[in-house]
Symmetry: C2
Subunit: 158 residues, 2 copies
């Protein structure tokens, strides 16, 4: 195996994602309890609802990819009502993502997989989508925090 | 060169970025002219100011990386006052990014480069930062559009 062909290694891409996940965790923490569940702008979802989506994607997607199970996307399989419960689920997902990621071989990233029985793309594209979607929604959380007069964590601190 | 070692190829990462850039372009287009320059939430920058930052990063960063010039980050080197002028600069940047990208060899992505004389990281990390920063700020633009009662383009359409 010639490492010259790599633009990014599996290990570094995982660390890149987990760095983003660590930042998202701090954005969740920055919300006042009530606003996490109630505040929104322009009819958009609350940050707890956006977090539910992110949680329904990350670890379940990695499990599906590794176990080749096209289990449909399912949000809010459990109804969480406190920030603490979200953070606990977040930390479990961190472990699950690491666990499944470490079972992926480098060649698996190019395999086409029908994620959630719906997104039929190479695994690398599905994984980039998970990361990008989290950055996208977290950026929206930054606006919510600013609108609430709260300084969000620095984007570059992971 | 063994392609098995790749998680993502340079060509696919460029296409991934340009797909995101195409979406950001449509977000710029979705703003009413006045709101692009004036609307903001919670004391944040307008979407024109965020776009200026994105433009000051993408193509200039690629030029710096390829020419190994640690030119400092410089925003608003020209003062644009219409959406049309932003879109024109956007399209020029699209060409410039392609031009410089195609001069990068696959092994260059692992080289450490002090981008803008300030961000001393492997080229791949600097490039992921450019992409992530654009997704982050565009996500904020989505909230601005929703607050203005405008439906943003679908996130998954690139």
């Amino acid at each position: 195996m010639n490492t010259i062909a790599e633009v990014i290694s599996p290990e570094k891409l995982l660390s890149h994602w987990q760095g983003h996940r660590n930042l998202t965790r701090r954005v969740i923490e920055a919300f006042p309890e009530k606003d996490f569940f109630e505040f929104s702008i322009g009819g958009m979802r609350t940050f707890s609802a956006l977090t539910s989506e992110i949680l329904a994607m990350g670890a379940p997607a990695m499990k599906g990819i590794v176990e080749k199970q096209e289990t449909p996307f399912q949000e809010d399989s459990e109804h969480l009502t406190t920030k603490a419960a979200y953070l606990e689920k977040w930390d479990k997902a961190t472990e699950q993502i690491n666990y499944y990621w470490n079972q992926l071989k480098v060649e698996d990233f190019q395999e086409t997989f029908n994620l959630f029985g719906y997104y039929n793309f190479p695994v690398i594209e599905n994984i980039l989508y998970l990361i990008d979607n989290e950055i996208h929604h977290r950026g929206q959380g930054y606006v919510y925090l600013r609108a609430l007069g709260i300084e969000p964590p620095h984007f570059w601190e992971r």
